[in-house]
């Protein structure tokens, strides 16, 4: 009986969660006029007259491949750089005793609180000063160092058994060697977690790229949506098709990595 209730609850929740997504996917397959017309009834979920025309329209109206490449490049570089830089810092804070460590580490949670929007304008003036507008660098570099990631690595490394490092030390390995060859291979879950979280956040970045870029050749996907919104007449089918194309890659990535992600959260000790 309890099991039935559980399934029932899950099914209800699932249908409510799924509805907007299904609406988007089905809508992307319909001609534009029907999207709005059908929205009020179950017809919203029935792909009558389904075709890939909207997808073709999107590819014709917007250099989608370019935007996709830009998004992929920028997000990947932020993730790659971040994994390197933040893990090293997290390790330094959790496993090495050095002068100034504790006061410097107190900065980290304080910085976690500062939202991007609060520093967007001064940062804008700053990068303008550096002459970084309309580049990839300006969309990557400011986001490589990340207080939340540092904290994540810090907590995880705290929980690593010391024997591994001690064994390496007895073999005469230096700090860097220990880190690279002993700690990192045993920390796959936290690296995966940090990678996925950072990637998700950066894939949808909108405000910052809007402020610092105007050239299409460096702009990421979320800005392409604004291109759609400004060209009347509004074609909802196209917008939905764009949405599907934008989300599909990350959903794919998540599906592949999700098992590692959940395990990552457990042993990272976010819970504790």
């Amino acid at each position: 009986m309890g099991r039935l209730l559980s399934y029932g609850g899950l099914a209800l929740a699932a249908s409510l969660f799924l509805a907007p997504i299904a609406f988007m996917i089905v809508g992307s397959l319909k001609p534009d006029e029907r999207v709005l017309l059908d929205a009020g009834s179950m017809a919203a979920f029935v792909p009558e007259g389904a075709s890939l025309q909207n997808y073709r329209d999107v590819l014709a109206r917007v250099p989608f491949a370019r935007y996709l490449l830009n998004s992929a490049l920028i997000s990947s570089m932020i993730v790659a750089g971040g994994l390197a830089v933040n893990s090293l810092a997290g390790y330094a804070f959790s496993r090495i005793r050095w002068r100034g460590r504790d006061p410097l580490f107190a900065l980290v949670p304080a910085i976690m609180v500062i939202p991007l929007e609060a520093i967007a304008v001064p940062l804008f003036y700053q990068v303008t000063l550096f002459g970084w507008r309309d580049t990839y660098v300006v969309q990557i570099l400011p986001f490589v160092a990340n207080a939340f990631s540092i904290y994540l690595f810090y907590t995880f490394f705290l929980g690593l058994p010391r024997e591994l490092e001690e064994a390496a030390r007895m073999d005469g390995a230096g700090a860097l060697r220990t880190f690279l060859w002993v700690v990192v291979p045993n920390s796959r879950p936290v690296f995966t977690t940090a990678a996925i979280l950072t990637f998700l956040t950066q894939w949808g970045a909108f405000l910052w790229p809007l402020m610092v870029t105007s050239a299409e050749r460096v702009r990421p996907l979320p800005l392409a949506v604004s291109t759609f919104y400004s060209l009347p007449p509004l074609q909802w089918g196209d917008i939905f098709a764009f949405g599907v194309m934008m989300v599909a890659p990350i959903l794919g990535v998540f599906l592949v990595f999700q098992r590692w992600f959940v395990r990552g959260v457990v042993t990272t000790g976010i819970k504790g």
Partner: protein
């Protein structure tokens, strides 16, 4: 490996990240704080001057900003508990050994993967006024025709709840995954012990699940609260702060001031206030968590 080599590697390892944080976060923020005391206008050829606390005085005299603070607070007070409860319920449901667990888990997490701007665009259609809107259609079906179609995003009473629903839809999955991980970390023996003491399902929940989940819960509550005060994308796309400031938020007002009206200093003052509020809340929550840890 000697101790001194180890010691030297500490600052070396931490340096790149710390440098990045200082250059790209700490310095701009310090700059923002300074700007909040000036009258800097975007692009203006007039010289910039220090005006003391004038910007702060002004923003608190503006009904839009005060309403924004109120809306953010209201938003946090409603969304945080609701979303957490929903996430907890889903996590509990998925914690049991049910078939298709992975499918449901992915499904509930899927909205998190959507960029907020895209979510907003889809929900604008869902909230379309008149019978063509999906939400109107849904409510009409559920109330057997008793529901009168409404223009949600332009209704002074329904607009903010509409945005709340969108946010909950988008954020619950993330909290759920973390809570699920927390649940999976609770040792089974604790439940067995409680059962042997005569505790039923509810008792086990109260005395085993909740206390063990305390840290996870407080972490997700903290993150969700911080995000609630940063609310911007949905407002920008769905309601533009309307109707009559019913959905405006601090970040929306700040961006409007800085970019819509070229009043950068005023925008900076608003974000400084935001930072202080968030810092205060974070402080309070961590204090509460610490108290709990000491007692429990």
């Amino acid at each position: 490996m000697t101790d001194s080599i180890q010691r030297r590697s500490g600052p070396l390892f931490a340096a790149p990240a710390l440098l990045g944080l200082v250059v790209f976060v700490a310095v701009p923020f310090a700059l923002a704080v300074v700007l909040a005391f000036t009258n800097l206008r975007l692009g203006s050829p007039l010289p910039t001057e220090f005006v003391g606390a004038e910007q702060f005085r002004r923003i608190f005299a503006e009904p839009a900003f005060v309403r924004a603070l109120l809306n953010n607070t209201l938003f946090a007070l409603v969304v945080v508990p609701l979303q957490t409860l929903l996430a907890l319920a889903l996590a509990l449901l998925l914690h049991q050994r049910l078939k298709g667990r992975a499918f449901f888990r992915t499904l509930f997490f899927a909205p998190v993967v959507f960029p907020l701007s895209l979510v907003a665009v889809v929900w604008v259609l869902i909230y379309a006024p008149g019978p063509e809107g999906m939400m109107n259609g849904f409510l009409r079906a559920v109330t057997f025709g008793a529901w009168i179609p409404r223009d949600f995003l332009r209704d002074p009473v329904l607009a903010l709840p509409a945005i709340m629903l969108t946010s909950i839809w988008q954020g619950a999955g993330f909290q759920m995954v973390i809570l699920l991980a927390g649940l999976q970390g609770i040792p089974g023996e604790l439940y067995e012990a409680a059962a042997m003491d005569g505790a039923g399902r509810w008792g086990q929940f109260q005395h085993v699940t909740l206390p063990q989940l305390r840290n996870t819960l407080s972490f997700t509550v903290l993150v969700t609260s911080i995000l609630a005060f940063r609310l911007f994308d949905q407002v920008q796309i769905m309601t533009r702060g309307g109707p009559r400031n019913a959905t405006t938020t601090v970040m929306f007002e700040a961006v409007q001031a800085s970019f819509g009206r070229q009043q950068v200093a005023k925008g900076a003052a608003m974000t400084v206030v935001l930072f202080l509020v968030v810092l205060a809340i974070t402080g309070v929550q961590r204090w509460v968590a610490r108290q709990g840890r000491e007692v429990g």
